[in-house]
């Protein structure tokens, strides 16, 4: 077990394979097309019999996705979404290559989620025995609802034998998995890690965010002066990460995770610090971890949920770190807020911006909040960013910022 020297910043990671499946469709290409055409994927809520006046970002066709029969106990909406995502962008093949290189026991899986397969349990409560109150049996709790069900599913599905776990820090979950992967590799526990996040529509989040009066009645409008809340979406996304030199030596992977910044607000369970102090700290820590100055960041993919207080706090934090006028946007208007999959969705969006040379302008937003100081993009801009930051913040005041870009940019 070789160990990275303690106390220094962790070495950058190569993003050797990437995929994301959102309401825009399966795979990166569907998201890219939607971003380019400025075609949002939100629609009025038609999920089950949910009676809320809100819009959602629903992935089509999950009802007909089937899992391999040997893994039938894992069947639930969340793992179907994981399975659909796994089939895109040659991700499974890239992992198989990594298994040949490193061995199955040297590859771990760390995935973020907020609610995992809770929908499975929610629906089971609709089928309780009226006399005894008992749930249908067997419930298959461990393979559906339990938080590490998706990483366990992926390990079996991909034939891996390294450590697996779930990170569940609400909406920052699938940002923070990159920090765990950096540690697993730096500590010599793994040679490569499959990271990402899976979060699917369920009653808990739809009715829960509605109870907090945080859901918009239309498609969300991040940064708009009249923004009125979030649109909930679902997504699954994965990245295969390994030490940057390993990929470079093979002449592969031009993309690199430079650094991760993590913090908590220590302020409130469901509202951010009004000045964005925790968010500011996460962004500064990501820059420090990467050994980069703030003026090298060409674009920030905001957490930008379109909640009134979140967007305002994030703008305060951006001004503190970058000064006024930092180019940024929120892409929640395309996919909705994908909660525990928001971190990986933001990272893949940033990578598409780098690879295809454009900054996506915020969708649905008509008049940006005049109180904001950032350069909050409302239209797509032709520009190839070299270094991108992506933010994800969650309940419990939990914050994570990812800094990434072309490998040759690594400090």
């Amino acid at each position: 077990m070789s160990m990275h020297e303690a106390n220094g910043p962790l070495p950058p990671l190569a993003l050797s394979a990437l995929t994301v499946t959102t309401a825009a469709g399966p795979g990166k290409g569907a998201l890219l097309d939607a971003l380019r055409a400025r075609r949002g994927a939100l629609a009025p809520c038609d999920f089950l019999d949910v009676d809320l006046p809100t819009w959602i970002g629903r992935v089509a066709g999950l009802e007909s996705v089937s899992l391999p029969s040997a893994l039938a106990d894992y069947d639930c909406r969340n793992n179907r979404l994981a399975e659909l995502a796994l089939q895109q962008d040659g991700f499974g093949e890239a992992v198989a290559e990594a298994v040949r290189r490193y061995g199955a026991h040297r590859i771990g899986v760390v995935l973020g989620t907020s609610t995992s397969g809770i929908l499975h349990t929610e629906l089971a409560f609709h089928e309780r025995d009226p006399a005894t109150g008992a749930l249908p049996s067997p419930l298959h709790y461990a393979t559906t609802h339990e938080l590490s069900s998706a990483p366990r599913y992926l390990r079996k599905r991909l034939g891996l034998a390294g450590p697996i776990y779930a990170v569940s820090t609400a909406c920052s979950s699938s940002g923070k998995v990159f920090a765990s992967a950096q540690r697993l590799i730096a500590a010599g526990v793994c040679d490569a890690v499959v990271v990402g996040g899976v979060d699917s529509l369920c009653l808990t989040t739809l009715y829960g965010f509605a109870s907090l009066e945080l859901t918009s009645t239309g498609p969300c409008r991040p940064g708009d002066v009249e923004r009125d809340g979030i649109s909930i979406g679902e997504a699954a996304g994965f990245a295969l990460v390994e030490p940057a030199p390993a990929a470079t030596n093979r002449g592969e992977s031009s993309l690199c995770l430079f650094g991760v910044g993590e913090s908590v607000d220590a302020h409130h369970m469901s509202s951010p610090h009004p000045e964005g102090k925790g968010a500011e700290l996460a962004m500064r820590r990501a820059l420090d971890a990467a050994g980069r100055r703030s003026d090298t960041v060409d674009y920030v993919n905001l957490h930008g949920t379109a909640s009134r207080v979140n967007d305002a706090a994030e703008d305060r934090a951006l001004e503190a770190v970058f000064g006024p006028g930092q180019a940024c946007s929120s892409t929640k208007g395309w996919t909705g807020h994908t909660l525990g999959a928001a971190g990986i969705t933001g990272l893949v969006t940033g990578v598409l911006a780098i690879e295809h040379g454009f900054l996506p302008g915020t969708l649905n937003t008509e008049r940006r909040d005049p109180a904001f100081s950032a350069d909050y993009l409302l239209a797509n801009r032709d520009m190839a960013p070299r270094c991108v930051m992506s933010n994800s913040f969650g309940f419990g005041g939990n914050n994570c910022s990812l800094l990434f870009g072309r490998a040759e940019e690594a400090a």
């Binding site: 339990e146 938080l147 590490s148 450590p163 569940s168 609400a170 765990s180 939990n398």
Partner: protein, 276 residues
């Protein structure tokens, strides 16, 4: 990874704290049973701001009680410690109530219950209580939660070269979920884990096992062994037993699909009288 355990906190088995738990493990006394309804009285939430104290769920107070004992015995300011919170299922009571409410025609879920349902509720309340802005993670891996909690905390302590607070805690599900996912007892362990240095009393070397490692550690006392098997956090009991008895021991924690985690505990008796 070479580490030391600087502070320990314990809630469970109807024992008051780690001092009582250590005495029971050492003396071979059977663990007690703590009914969920009586758990509230055993928990210390008094250091939360008043609003948060009223709102915090049972799993949060369970984890925080163990954390307070651990940081106090380590003599460290909790605001300076990164936080690793590991629980197999988080707030089982809130999750069960939410799922039950969502099956009613009104589908009411209260805002507080909703934010208490997130897996990082305990670390969120804890960070508010102690004013910590250090990174806080909340992880889960079903029956391997204690093992990955140790692993994540060990990596953070080693790579960050600083002490880390680890909380491993489980709250049993109420009816009817307890039949689908039985958790035998409420239990929480708080550990302050730091990079090893000269003079450590409780030294731990930790890493992934390779090949056919030793078999999983079991406890001699049948009731403690039942708790080890019946509560995911109970997988830490062999380590706590070794610490309580002051016996160096090689332990093995199962991680499904892997060769498991090897935890080599060594006690430095020469310095033990300086401890605590």
């Amino acid at each position: 990874m070479n580490l030391s355990i600087r502070g320990i906190g314990f809630v469970g088995a109807a024992l008051a704290d780690w001092t009582e738990a250590a005495a029971a493990l050492r003396g071979g006394d059977a663990p007690g049973h703590m009914p969920l309804a009586e758990l509230g009285r055993a928990l210390k939430a008094d250091r939360l701001p008043r609003t948060e104290r009223r709102r915090a769920g049972k799993s949060t107070r369970l984890a925080m009680t163990a954390c307070w004992e651990a940081v106090e015995s380590a003599g460290l300011d909790p605001a300076t410690l990164p936080m690793v919170f590991a629980s197999s299922t988080g707030d089982t009571e809130v999750l069960t109530q939410s799922c039950a409410s969502l099956a009613e025609p009104e589908r009411m879920i209260s805002p507080i219950r909703f934010h208490n349902s997130v897996h990082n509720a305990a670390s969120g309340y804890w960070s508010i209580a102690v004013g910590a802005r250090e990174p806080a993670t909340a992880i889960a891996a079903h029956h391997e939660t204690a093992a990955v909690g140790l692993l994540e905390a060990a990596m953070q302590a080693t790579l960050g070269n600083q002490p880390v607070l680890l909380a491993v805690y489980d709250l049993p599900f109420p009816e009817p979920m307890c039949r689908a996912e039985p958790i035998a007892e409420p239990m929480a362990v708080g550990l302050v884990i730091a990079p090893a240095q000269a003079g450590d009393v409780h030294r731990v070397t930790l890493g992934m096992a390779e090949g056919n490692g030793p078999v999983e550690g079991v406890l001699g006392h049948p009731d403690w062994e039942r708790m080890r098997r019946g509560v995911p956090a109970g997988r830490l009991l062999p380590l706590l037993d070794a610490i309580a008895r002051g016996e160096s021991r090689q332990l093995h924690l199962v991680m499904d699909g892997t060769d498991g985690l090897e935890v080599n505990y060594q006690v430095n008796n020469a310095t033990q009288h300086h401890d605590r």
